[in-house]
Symmetry: C2
Subunit: 202 residues, 2 copies
């Protein structure tokens, strides 16, 4: 059933780390096999191609992640506040136990072109729909278009701190401490929720 070889997992681990750190295009299969300490041909044996490997790397993480998001949204009840909604969306990523997935997810969110078809339409449609519905109840005064835009503002703010998390400390002279994940979620939730509560105006 779940017969996963040691080699296969090593490749996935090395790949997600390097993809997150250097990007998908800039990471070669040789980089991955060197990091994983396996043979080059093992990649094409276990996965068929680099493209399929990318899919496998993403899929391994994004499914439990989205399950967790939906579970947290359910736990918030039938009428969650906007704070609870944003928290359910962000916390599973920002506070993820497995640190390599943080830069990986930031990378995916930041380079939509290659992944919008293979990732978003496949794994994120249900999530987006459920969260959009919840937001429609939590901030009913906003027009659907405005809610959609703000949803993307939220996703962007989150993606940015994911992508930059390992640089923010150095870049801000130690002012931003990216190690306390729960604190980041808390700051993000406050900021985004206030943004969602802003009157739409014209």
């Amino acid at each position: 059933m779940i017969e996963r070889s040691e080699t296969k997992v090593s490749i996935l681990n090395a790949a997600e780390m390097l993809f997150g750190r250097k990007g998908f295009d800039a990471t070669s299969l040789r980089d991955i096999t060197a990091e994983a300490q396996v043979n080059l041909a093992a990649v094409n044996y276990h996965f068929q191609s680099k493209d399929s490997l990318i899919d496998a790397v993403i899929q391994r993480r994004i499914e439990p992640l989205n399950d967790r998001r939906l579970a947290m949204l359910d736990e918030a009840g039938a009428h969650p506040t906007i704070e609870q909604i944003v928290h359910a969306f962000a916390a599973p990523v920002v506070e993820a136990d497995l640190s390599p997935i943080v830069p990986l997810m930031g990378r995916i969110l930041s380079t939509p072109d290659q992944f919008v078809s293979r990732v978003f339409k496949k794994h994120l449609n249900i999530v987006a729909q459920r969260f959009t519905e919840a937001m429609a109840k939590a901030v009913p005064d906003l027009s659907p278009a405005e809610r959609m835009w703000r949803f993307h503002f939220m996703a962007g703010a989150m993606a940015h701190v994911l992508s930059w998390s390992h640089l923010l400390g150095e870049l801000t002279g130690g002012v931003c401490d990216a190690s306390d994940r729960k604190a980041i979620t808390s700051r993000l939730v406050k900021f985004v929720a206030a943004g969602f509560r802003a009157p739409e105006g014209n």
Copy 2:
């Protein structure tokens, strides 16, 4: 026969378009010379390397952009509101006349690792400092760390809509119209300003 600057400008134009659309790693010099309808060797003649070309592409756009940002910040007076500050930061990019720079800037902001040294420390330090100072006056109740985090939330929200602008229409079934740039700025400013005004709390 053609003036000697025409080739160079053609290369820069083609490069910024392709870099923005496909990313820096995924764009080859052959892609660029084909698009610019110039010879392959012209790239290495006018610019020394692909790396230097990337620098030139970025530098050509980022300097007038940052000048415009600082000018708008000055125009807002000695004590600008947070709305004015956010507008001065975002409008010059989001409403840029030259459309190729929109995805280009989104790409730069989304892939910090390769550019944090060559771009941010070189061109963005002064901008970040001036805007941080203005924010300290506009929202003085926030701790410096909180202001810094919210600055990055703002940058992320902006970068995201820049990167996704050409996809948002299709992805949202036409709900999000990315063609009206001023409307995007307006939405972004309202959202971010409300986020900045949120009490810090603990």
